[in-house]
């Protein structure tokens, strides 16, 4: 003992403990007696195969479910189909832009996943690349999954109005809801954050699309230029007609004045003239009176023609001016439209199961099967490894 200084107390005690192990002298007799008291246990033939078949089956089905769910056949189709179909959105040129502001079709809200649709251009043919102006009209689509559709709809309406927007239409049922609205474009980023807070994480999906209204702007500008040109032309025509009319009227008036003067002279001469001369004067006065009547008739016709032409031109000028006003209004509406975001928000009720399915990576059923496999494996271990555990 004294020579083995490196021995630890643990070594000494371990050796001592093992040395203390001993069986009683009558071990066999005691054992036999105890064995005779062992309660009868029905003999169970050991299972030949210790493989955890149930766990393997669960795991296999889970893997199958996982691969079936990520195959492109199911989830990719709704995304692809609407994208390749032509959009039904169109814009009426003649009607005011506020009325035209048709929100993108919200049919996508009914589908589980949103997709990005291409905005339809206003006038086909495109715009020259030299014109680099941008008049971007933004459309906002979102889908919120919620446990309380009606309550969420009210909150969305409140937020829309709080941002200085307006609600165009809304509906809410037990399972689904829908809100169509417009808000100022500068409020969009903050508005989106508010919407995200209503449908946390994966319960909120959004789609933003924008469209350059440059062709529409160019069309309005072209129409305005044309109308202004027509208006100027009409005004010039009107001035020319007035000028011509005045000249004609003046010439007629001068002729009438001359006739009147000659008649006055002849009538004065008639008082002191002889019989023969009086007959000549009377004949001449008759001729002049006839001529005067003719001139007056021409003057009346000229006045009538002038009135008609002026009326016609005034009507055309008035129409052109109205058209110009309308185009200016369209131009202003376009600017306002660009400054406005039209949006739709779809609301859909979500069950706790769906929430779990959304947040858990991969299909929920696969995870449940994996859990089932794990439990089956634990049970398997308990069944086959019990004896080892208790000794």
């Amino acid at each position: 003992m004294d020579t083995n200084n490196r021995k630890t107390i643990e070594d000494i005690l371990t050796k001592w403990g093992k040395g203390a192990h001993t069986n009683p002298a009558n071990n066999s007799a005691l054992k036999s007696e105890v064995m005779s008291k062992v309660p009868y246990v029905e003999y169970k033939a050991p299972i030949k195969t210790p493989y955890p078949w149930l766990s393997i089956a669960f795991a296999g089905v889970a893997i199958l479910v996982f691969f079936v769910n990520i195959s492109p056949g199911e989830k990719m189709l709704p995304k692809i189909l609407p994208a390749i179909l032509p959009s039904e959105r169109s814009v009426d040129i003649a009607s005011p832009l506020e009325e035209q502001a048709v929100a993108p079709s919200h049919s996508s809200n009914s589908s589980k996943d949103s997709y990005v649709s291409m905005p339809t251009t206003y006038v086909s043919g495109g715009s020259p690349i030299t014109d680099k102006r941008e008049f971007l009209k933004t459309y906002y689509n979102a889908n919120i999954k919620t446990r309380n559709v009606s309550d969420t709809k009210n909150k969305v309406e409140l937020i829309v109005r709080g941002f200085g927007g307006r609600v165009d239409s809304s509906s809410a049922g037990e399972k689904n809801g829908y809100i169509s609205f417009a808000i100022p474009a500068e409020q969009l980023s903050i508005f989106k954050e508010q919407m995200k807070s209503l449908g946390l994480g994966k319960l909120y999906t959004e789609e933003l699309s924008s469209e350059n209204l440059l062709p529409q702007k160019q069309y309005i500008e072209g129409e305005k230029a044309q109308t202004e040109k027509t208006l100027t032309s009409l005004k010039n025509d009107r001035a020319q007609i007035i000028k011509n009319h005045n000249q004609i009227v003046n010439s007629y008036q001068l002729r009438i004045n001359d006739i009147n003067k000659e008649i006055a002279v002849l009538e004065f001469e008639w008082q002191s003239a002889g019989m023969e001369r009086r007959a000549q004067i009377t004949a001449r006065i008759n001729v002049l009176q006839n001529e005067k009547s003719s001139v007056l008739a021409y003057l009346a016709k000229e006045n009538s023609d002038y009135q008609n032409k002026i009326y016609s031109l005034d009507s055309q000028i008035k129409y052109s001016q109205m058209n110009l006003e309308s185009l200016k209004k369209q131009d202003q509406n376009l600017v306002d439209n660009v400054a406005t975001v039209n949006g739709t928000i779809g609301l859909s009720w979500v069950s706790l199961w769906q929430i779990a399915d959304i947040y858990i990576p991969g299909p929920l059923l696969a995870w449940i099967l994996i859990l089932g496999g794990a439990l089956a494996y634990i049970r398997h271990r308990r069944r086959y490894l019990d004896i080892g555990a208790i000794t």
Binding site: M1, D2, I9, E10, I12, L13, T14, K15, W16, G17, G19, A20, H21, T22, N23, P24, A25, N26, N27, L30, K31, E33, V34, M35, K37, V38, P39, V41, Y43, R382, D386, I387, A389, I390, T391
Partner: protein
């Protein structure tokens, strides 16, 4: 817990040397140790159905029964107390002298430790129970058991050094 005879037989062979060695070390009386060993096993067989199995060690359960039997034995007062004079013949199993000296040394050291420390060292090194099982047996926290064993070993280490120097 359903155990058949083969399994019980294996348990007997693996646990009995530890249990009997423990009883012998505590009681220092072969006859009493054999009686308690037998009673312990018989009671275990009678109450086999109440043993949970899961999370419990069969060996620890058996030691719990044995310790209870020992308490009942002392309560009866047949022995007039726990202190029995050391009888080296009871422990002589024919080992070499060095091993015998080791046993005598450890037994002498154990006598100088407290009863709780002796109990802990016997359960740890003869019964070969884990600190967790000892904790369940003594109704102590397993960390507490480790600390107590560590302190007992520290005291034993000092006593052994003193013994060697003497």
């Amino acid at each position: 817990m359903n155990l058949n005879k083969d399994e019980i037989s294996k348990l007997w062979d693996s646990i009995t040397p530890k249990l009997y060695g423990y009883l012998l070390n505590v009681l220092k009386d072969k006859r009493v140790a054999e009686d308690i060993l037998q009673t312990t096993w018989l009671k275990a067989m009678e109450n086999l159905g109440s043993f949970g199995g899961r999370g419990d060690n069969f060996s620890a359960w058996l030691f719990a029964i044995a310790r209870n039997e020992m308490r009942m034995h002392w309560r009866k007062g047949n022995q007039g107390g726990r202190e029995i004079a050391y009888d080296p013949s009871l422990h002589d199993h024919g080992e070499n002298d060095q091993s015998g000296e080791n046993k005598i040394l450890v037994d002498q050291i154990l006598d100088k430790l407290s009863e709780e420390e002796q109990d802990l060292i016997r359960l740890r090194y003869i019964a070969e129970l884990t600190p967790d099982d000892i904790g369940k047996l003594l109704k102590l926290n397993s960390v507490n058991v480790r600390v107590k064993i560590h302190r007992a070993l520290a005291r034993a280490r000092v006593l052994i050094k003193d013994q060697i120097h003497q």
